[in-house]
């Protein structure tokens, strides 16, 4: 039991369940198929965004350019299809490649210069966003093929959106990476103790670049999914990802100094954010308050994480 309580996903799971039950009790429309579909879509896309940041938190850094990379991939995806008529799968692959390149560049500059990830990704945020706006001149691409639109907005087996399938695969793959694959363990090892990792034969620069590459790919996937969902290639895609991308992993107990993240708990963190956002909409509360709630959630979560950490240290000292 004690072990259960100590698990990262336990608290968020409890909150999620209470929130779902509470919402369903107060508002019958909460569990309506349409609403479930909206919730699941938010879970998919925001999950990708959160994972993109989570990988970087795992290695003990931060990535401010998650949104900029995602946005650039999104408009590339839509633009390739509209302007050159590139078929959707190929366009998606090219957009993912753009995310990959963006991530590799971030990682390369951080590993090569040793300058803090904050500054490097702040610079690349500006560069990617500038390229985005330079290409689009702040105008959306409207020519998204019907097949893509359908993929982002139709469902199977009742309320389950088709988008759920690729996203679920990505989520499982991320879990496998961080828990069973050597690369994922290396990312966590570097985040936990960089010096010791290097002495144990892990190439720190290569691991940093790999983490940022994965982060870039995940951000690009989120961008592509959003284009399918919104049915247009908005240049503003990614502008509001930053807070969310930190909120979910932190709610999931991620340690910002690195070395510890939980895939399941992060996903639950995304769910909590989605439910609360949905609740505000259902109860006709000013959507601007979402920002306040998100900020409050982050503060609450880091506070709880900190408290748990202190408690563990204390119990260690006592024993």
């Amino acid at each position: 039991m004690d072990r259960l309580v100590r698990a990262d996903w336990f608290g968020p799971l409890l909150v999620t369940l209470v929130a779902v039950i509470g919402m369903a009790a107060f508002s019958p429309s909460f569990l309506s198929p349409l609403n479930v579909q909206v919730l699941l879509l938010a879970l998919c896309i925001n999950g990708l965004i959160a994972f993109s940041q989570m990988i970087i938190i795992a290695i003990g850094q931060m990535n401010l350019s998650v949104g900029a990379i995602g946005g650039l991939a999104a408009i590339s995806f839509a633009g390739l299809m509209e302007v050159w008529g590139v078929p959707a799968p190929l366009a998606a692959i090219l957009a993912i490649c753009i995310g990959l390149i963006g991530g590799v560049l971030n990682g390369f500059f951080i590993a090569w210069t040793g300058i803090s990830a904050f500054v490097i990704t702040l610079a690349s945020l500006s560069i990617f966003k500038g390229i985005n706006l330079g290409i689009t001149r702040a105008q959306p691409f409207y020519g998204v093929p019907e097949s893509v639109k359908a993929f982002g907005n139709t469902t199977f087996l009742g309320p389950l959106p088709w988008l759920l399938i690729p996203c679920a695969i990505v989520f499982v793959a991320t879990w496998y990476l961080l828990n069973r694959l050597s690369l994922g363990r290396q990312i966590l090892a570097v985040g936990g103790n960089e010096h010791a990792s290097a002495l144990s034969g892990i190439s720190v620069p290569r691991t940093v670049i790999a983490a940022h590459a994965i982060s870039g790919v995940l951000a690009a996937l989120a961008g592509i999914a959003l284009v399918a969902r919104l049915q247009i290639g908005q240049p503003t895609i990614g502008d509001d990802w930053l807070i969310l991308s930190f909120a979910a992993p932190v709610i999931g107990g991620a340690v910002l100094s690195g070395g510890h993240v939980s895939v399941t708990a992060t996903l639950l963190g995304v769910a909590i954010v989605a439910i609360i956002t949905q609740a505000l909409v259902l109860f006709h509360i000013d959507p601007f308050l979402v920002q306040v709630v998100l900020g409050g959630l982050i503060l609450w979560a880091v506070g709880v994480n900190r408290w748990r950490e202190v408690r563990v240290q204390r119990s260690l000292k006592r024993s």
Binding site: I131, L133, G134, L256, F288, V292, L294
Partner: protein, 344 residues
């Protein structure tokens, strides 16, 4: 490591070695490099764009530069503690909107409204500082959260509407030209820079801020109240952010919720460009108001020049990103050169 092992042996430090590492020769400082760059780019733009040195362009440039300089200062005073304040934009907008509200809705006299706006900035800064000190968490995550909270609350309370009923003195101040090309906004920014320089050099508070930022443990055991000092830095940052937004308000003639972009994020890049170009260490303990000032001027000049050269507005943002990247790389090279000089 090698530095460690030989600093432990008693080497009589030579006078020449001391001058290089303690007080780098002026031509090796960041400030000198920035002045050179400003001159070089000034000449290039003067040659390529005819109206670059026209009084109106200089005036416009100065107005924008003033705001960039001030944003840089608002960030710099927190970077000194080894932290950062992502909420500069959000706090600034809150301060300016509050000031606009006091004037337009409550009809308060403008000097009082300005003071209260600055006080709100300091108050929000206090919340940041208090949370950082009390939780022991890095200011990144705290101010990321408060950025969202402050901005969301502001938009919620104002219903995202602007305050346009400002007394004419604001727009008069915003559009005034001294000697035909100097904006009073720039004078305000320069004055703040001078005050900050004096604070860091000649006051106990300023020195304690640097000490607390460089090595909090050592500062605390030398009698510096570190927690209080860090809170003070965040309060100063908050009020500087509010002052910046007031300058923007004077320039626009209105208090607009979107004046710093979504969540105030538009201020983040200039906030770091100035201090980083100016040689303020992100790890804390050192501040250069002059460098921040010059860095922001350089950034504004590049933006302005590129726009005059008809490089699309959107590409300029990408250029600024490249500039930041370039700046940190050059700084790194300069530091390793200085380290090399020290060893030799």
């Amino acid at each position: 490591m090698s530095i460690d092992s030989h600093s432990a042996t008693p080497t009589p430090a030579s006078p020449s070695g001391g001058r290089v590492s303690g007080n780098p020769r002026f031509y090796l400082t960041n400030e000198f490099g920035l002045i050179c760059l400003i001159v070089v780019f000034g000449l290039i733009f003067a040659l390529l764009a005819k109206n670059f040195f026209s009084p109106f362009n200089l005036f416009a440039l100065g107005r924008v530069a003033a705001v960039n300089v001030m944003i840089g200062f608002a960030m710099m005073v927190v970077i000194v503690t080894g932290g950062l304040n992502l909420a500069v934009g959000a706090i600034g907008v809150c301060g300016a909107m509050f000031c606009g509200f006091l004037i337009q809705v409550l009809g308060l006299p403008w000097p009082l409204a300005i003071l209260l706006g600055l006080a709100l900035g300091a108050g929000l800064g206090f919340i940041n500082g208090f949370a950082v000190v009390r939780s022991g968490l890095h200011s990144f995550i705290i101010t990321l959260a408060t950025m969202s909270i402050f901005f969301g609350a502001m938009v919620f309370l104002t219903r995202a509407e602007s305050f346009r009923g400002l007394p004419p003195i604001f727009s008069a101040f915003g559009t005034a030209r001294l000697f035909g090309f100097v904006s009073p906004l720039l004078i305000v920014a320069a004055l703040v820079g001078v005050l900050l320089s004096i604070m860091y050099r000649y006051t106990v508070v300023g020195r304690e801020m640097l000490a607390a930022g460089a090595k909090p443990e050592a500062a605390a055991l030398s009698g510096v109240p570190v927690g209080r000092t860090i809170i003070l830095c965040h309060m100063l940052s908050g009020s500087l952010a509010a002052l910046t937004a007031l300058l923007v308000m004077a320039r626009n003639g209105a208090a607009i919720p979107s004046m710093a972009g979504q969540l105030g994020q538009d201020w983040l890049l200039p906030a770091f460009l100035g201090p980083v170009l100016g040689g303020t260490l992100l790890s804390g303990g050192r501040a250069s108001p002059l460098g921040t000032f010059l860095g922001a001027i350089l950034v504004t000049m590049l933006t302005n020049g590129l726009l005059l050269l008809r490089v699309g507005e959107f590409w300029v943002q990408a250029c600024l990103g490249v500039l930041l990247l370039f700046a940190v790389l050059v700084d790194k090279a300069r530091r390793s050169y200085l380290a090399h000089l020290k060893v030799a």
